[in-house]
Amino acid sequence: MYQYDQYDQQIVEERARQFRGQVQRRIDGEVTENEFKPLRLQNGLYMQLHAYMFRIAIPYGVLSSKQVRKLAHLARSYDRGYGHITTRQNIQFNWPQLEAIPTMLDELASVQMHAIQTSGNCVRNITSDPFAGVAPDELEDPRPYCELLRQWSTFHPEFAFLPRKFKIAVTGTPSQDRAAIRFHDIGVRIVNNEAGERGFEVWAGGGMGRTPFIGQIVRPFVRYNDLLAFVESILRVYNRYGRRDNKFKARIKILVDELGIEEFRRRVEEDFARSTNPALQLERAEVDRVTASFRPPPYEPESSARGDAAALAERTSNDAAFARWRKTNVLSHKVPGYDIVVLSLKHPDIPPGDISDTQLDRVAELADRYSFGEVRTTHTQNMVLTDVRDADLCELYDKLVALDMATPTFRLLGDIIACPGLDYCALANARSIPLSLELAKRFENIDYQEDVGPCSIKISGCINACGHHHVGNIGILGINKNGEEVYQLMLGGHDSDSASIGKILGPALREDQVADAVEKVLSKYLDTRNGADETFLECYRRLGPDPFKEAAYGA
């Protein structure tokens, strides 16, 4: 992974020092709460319902075991013993004291971490494919470009006070988008053009929130050395022309929609054509320097990585639970003999994405022992060991079972995404976590989940859509109706290629009606699908909402 040099290190240390001063001035009353708010937000510090919430950046979801241990320590020392993996691959703590934040920042800086721009109206954490660098279908590892964009966006002096927050995602697998680039303010896809040259397809204007939009292509091919200049032009057009009169119309998706993609593109291209400074161009040497950080680890030869293939086969045929986990949570790796292993944070008794200090410490040990000391976070609120030998699968599985991290539900019904909701969040209208736990219990039977197959449930406690309900195959949105928490059910959302936004199925439901309605929808699917190969999404797209509406709400 990327290793800080002296310059990177200096920036995070100076940031910690700057924020310590800002906190002190707030405590001394030198700055008002109104003045302090945008400053603390730029450093990931929110005021929630009960306490401050502190969000720490995990750039494109990549962590070293040393960093994971530090997070465990922070959870233990400054929080209530757990953290929460977010839908943008970050981690947040729900109970820190304001006075402790500067010290937490110093601790983070000591392991090359920070909370820079994890909230506020600025460029946020760059997210990516959690399998970057190891996916067999990848064209090129996107992480070096994520890191280059991270550095470019860190304290970019022109874009610290945008109309609204700004999220960028990068994927290196054009055939299979695992980074939801069509639902980001800017989405970047590594592609080859017709001449076979490598470059980027750049999208803009996607997003969720109260007005969801699928992004559109601004330019189908940007040369690698123009990436920063082109992205800068998009940001400049947004900074200058994005709406500031209404917070709910301030995201770039509204600008793109109101101008139309042609006019938006014209403005970006005009700015880009005028940014004549050649120094903004990326240099091959700099790309190479950053890329060198992501060199593949020293993989063993296949025969040694495979280990005792007979023992693995035997365990797989004799131990149904292991076989199920292997089928669902273990994915193909580009290197023969190695596997990608998803560590599930979807235990049916625990809020999605929550992880305890002990689990964090154990994950660090597992990473050191089985995966070259690295671990990833995913936007589906799980973790990943990306480089596990076949030979280690049995041992790793047993340890994950002991940690409650072997729930075999990756991409199945149990892999629910949920925002923190009204249990924590000041913006929420309804709780998300109790409902997600109820659904996880209702569909706990793994045979049933396997029968249903890939199907995503995503729950948000308000229209800001942090739980990505618009792109759930089954989306659930909590709203407040006359003082009662009720839930809208929507179907057909999808966040990858062939992206779509879910449609509301019918009238909002009481909390105690939701699980029944979802079950009826699923029964309808199981009864009407064209064989087990037709996924829920495909079936819904073929049949449309009516049969599902009838199933959920009666005739």
Binding site: D5, Y7, Q10, I11, E14, R15, Q18, Q22, E30, V31, E35, P38, L39, N121, Q151, W152, T154, F155, H156, P157, E158, F159, A160, F161, L162, L228, R236, N239, R240, R244, R274, S275, N277, A279, L280, E283, A285, E286, R289
Partner: protein, 159 residues
């Protein structure tokens, strides 16, 4: 009034005047007034500056090079349009005169403003202008090309 210029607190004669007020020496006027009256404003050796408000474009300032001072207005410090305005003035239009931040100007933004080409700061009333000088030392390293250095870090140093 006191402003920060070149990392020092200095007394300064520039005055923002509304379109209804008479303009004298060292008046800063609206963009529309500048475009309409600049010859008169600059007559007899007088100095005059122009203010660019949020939503206005630096491309629309006529005879930009004749203005010794351009003020960039920040109606609220969370309104970041002025940063692009300053950057375009310096980096794209090649403006060499003084660029002054006015409005909701506080020390926490001055480092960034400075990087965008702003070189004087009318720190808002009620804030300690002397303490604001420390803002320039917030960071000793920056990643990006900006108006203060048109080279990104990877072109400034060997990494």
């Amino acid at each position: 009034m006191k402003v920060v210029r070149d990392r020092k607190v200095v007394e300064d004669a520039w005055q923002l005047v509304t379109d209804d007020e008479a303009a004298g020496d060292h008046s800063i006027v609206s963009l529309a007034r500048w475009n309409a009256e600049r010859d008169a404003l600059l007559a007899e050796g007088k100095s005059a500056g122009v203010v660019i408000r949020s939503g206005e474009s630096p491309d629309d300032v006529e005879d930009l090079e004749r203005a010794p001072l351009v003020a960039v207005d920040f109606p609220a410090f969370t309104d970041g349009r002025g940063y692009s305005t300053a950057r375009l003035l310096r980096s794209r239009l090649g403006y060499k005169g003084e660029i002054r931040a006015i409005g909701d100007v506080m020390r926490d933004e001055m480092f960034l403003m400075h990087r965008c080409g702003i070189d004087s700061f009318a720190v808002k009333a009620g804030k300690d202008i002397e303490k604001a000088l420390t803002a320039f030392d917030d960071f000793s390293v920056t990643y990006q090309a900006a108006a203060d250095d048109e080279r990104p870090l990877f072109r400034r140093v060997h990494r």
